[in-house]
């Protein structure tokens, strides 16, 4: 991916490529459906309108009215917005904690040795095991969901920021030393700017992780207003109405992509670097 695409002339082939990929995916989906139904193949699973609905049925479901009245799309967008707020708060909190954790750790090898194993261990505990405890501690509510999202966010940010803070080349550090720069100046004028490409790589990972964290976090909190609640709900009616769950997944994916794109845009604004593809 080129980072310096400018002007409409370069935007046109980009849009065309995106559309072509979408079209190809759609064709593949429908071809798979058609082939399996026509041949009666049952491996890995029998294909029918319940297991693999038409794509147009899935997207069409968004435009249908729910039993309560409003369009499914409206309902899901409301849920998505609710989940997005939890995820954003968790993402911001986790990113800040991760960043400053790395800043604290970079100054002491001893601290790194002491803390890193626990930071790593924190991520080997499944989020499904942590979520109920957070709910017990903080009471069910969007705050506990945000904490769960933050739990998934802080780790990649901490690890990558630590790596990034250490990435400044030795000569640059000698240069700062030759200016008798204070540790504070070395941190903010050299280490942090040098770490930004690493930080943004981590933020891209965390952006989508925070959405997943928020959706999963809603389950033990019994929060009905978000995408997690919607998924749980439509899951129960899957055999009757499979398209609704699929449509919910589409919206959840779109939310993840929106988070990712937001980070990419922020990166383009913040990181002024030689045009090397980082993502």
């Amino acid at each position: 991916m080129t980072t310096f695409a400018t002007g409409a002339r370069r935007a046109v082939p980009r849009v065309a490529a995106t559309l072509a990929v979408l079209l190809a995916l759609w064709a593949l989906w429908e071809l798979y459906r058609w082939t399996w139904i026509e041949t009666g193949w049952t491996w890995p699973f029998p294909v029918n309108d319940t297991t693999l609905p038409h794509l147009h049925t899935i997207f069409g479901a968004l435009g249908k009215h729910t039993s309560a009245g409003p369009l499914l799309l409206t309902v899901l967008l409301k849920s998505a917005w609710f989940t997005a707020k939890e995820a954003m708060l968790g993402f911001a909190g986790g990113a800040i904690v991760g960043f400053f954790l790395a800043v604290a750790l970079v100054h002491s090898r001893l601290m790194q040795r002491a803390f890193l194993p626990y930071i790593v261990a924190s991520q080997t505990i499944p989020i499904l095991a942590v979520a109920p405890m957070v709910v017990v501690w903080l009471k069910a509510g969007w705050q506990s969901v945000a904490v769960i999202a933050a739990y998934l966010t802080f780790f990649p940010v901490a690890i990558n920021t630590l790596r990034g803070l250490q990435s400044a080349e030795p000569r640059a550090q000698e240069l700062m030393r030759s200016y008798a720069a204070s540790p504070w100046e070395v941190l903010w004028k050299l280490r942090v700017p040098a770490s930004l490409p690493y930080v943004f790589t981590a933020l891209k990972i965390s952006a989508t992780a925070s959405v997943v964290g928020a959706i999963i976090g809603e389950l033990p909190s019994s929060i009905q207003d978000g995408l997690g609640g919607a998924i749980l709900n439509f899951n129960q009616y899957y055999s009757l109405d499979p398209a609704s769950l699929w449509a919910t997944n589409v919206i959840a994916a779109a939310l993840g992509i929106a988070f990712f794109v937001a980070v990419v845009i922020a990166e383009k604004i913040v990181v002024r670097r030689a045009p090397v593809p980082v993502a």
């Binding site: 640059a172 240069l175 030393r177 030759s178 200016y179 008798a180 100046e185 700017p193 670097r273 030689a274």
Partner: protein, 260 residues
């Protein structure tokens, strides 16, 4: 005023041994020698970037540490070490930020420095948009921005092509005359050392020692014609002979490469 004395009765255990050298204010001194002779180490000791094992050294009549804290010297490395995320102007102004200069004062000095190295109009560019030679000029402007009495240069033109190198040599001499600073210059190149310096210090490897000091009495200001001067060739030969003597003990073949 600059008053630079440094002595290491016994320097770095392996890297430097018995270095004894005095550099006067306004001198242009080159340190030359094969790889491993400790010339860069010596430069870093002057700059207080590393400490000598034993021995005494004074920079500007102070300890190197005090000289560093007082911003008595500017440093230029082989690669320009510009910060990619800063514009050219902000790179040049970096040391001034550390000195606590306000924005307006920094701006006018940076513009002045960019004019000095003939890069006016490039202030808003980013380093990667410039050629290698231009990047090195930015690095020199940055090192001179706070008018240090002493300029330490570690093979600054080593990575550049011959033509750029010769042009920058002449520009550097002009700067040196105008700024009335002292320059200590590490190089691999005999011709560069002779052309630039008032004195060439020839060093020998493992352990690094001073093999000889060659005063260069070529007239100032030096120009492209200096390289045609018979005395220039005499000095080049003199330095080369000294270097050959150094290499003969241990590894003459390595040295032939160095001098090519």
């Amino acid at each position: 005023m600059t008053d630079l004395t440094k002595t290491f009765p016994k320097g770095h255990v392996t890297a430097l041994q018995g270095i004894d050298l005095q550099i006067e204010p306004g001198e242009f001194v080159s340190l030359i020698g094969p790889s491993g002779c400790g010339k860069s180490t010596l430069l870093r000791i002057i700059g207080d970037l590393i400490q000598p094992t034993t021995g005494a050294i004074e920079v500007n009549g102070k300890t190197p540490h005090q000289a560093r804290v007082d911003h008595d010297y500017g440093m230029v490395f082989q690669d320009s070490v510009l910060f990619d995320w800063r514009t050219v102007a902000k790179n040049v102004g970096l040391p001034l930020e550390m000195l606590g200069w306000d924005r307006a004062r920094r701006k006018s000095r940076v513009e002045e420095m960019l004019r000095t190295v003939e890069l006016q109009g490039f202030g808003d560019h980013h380093p990667w948009q410039l050629s290698g030679g231009m990047q090195m000029r930015v690095a020199i402007a940055r090192a001179l921005s706070f008018e240090p009495a002493l300029l330490l240069m570690d093979e600054p033109f080593g990575a550049l092509d011959e033509m750029t190198r010769e042009r920058l040599n002449i520009e550097l001499l002009e700067l040196w005359r105008r700024m009335e600073s002292t320059i200590v210059f590490v190089t691999h190149s005999i011709s560069e050392a002779v052309f630039l310096s008032t004195r060439v210090v020839v060093m020998s490897p493992r352990p690094g020692r001073i093999a000889g000091v060659v005063p260069i009495d070529l007239p100032q200001p030096r120009t492209v014609d200096t390289r045609e001067d018979p005395r220039y060739f005499e000095h080049v030969t003199e330095v080369r002979e000294l270097l050959r003597g150094v290499g003969a003990d241990q590894h003459g073949s390595v040295l032939a490469e160095e001098m090519a």
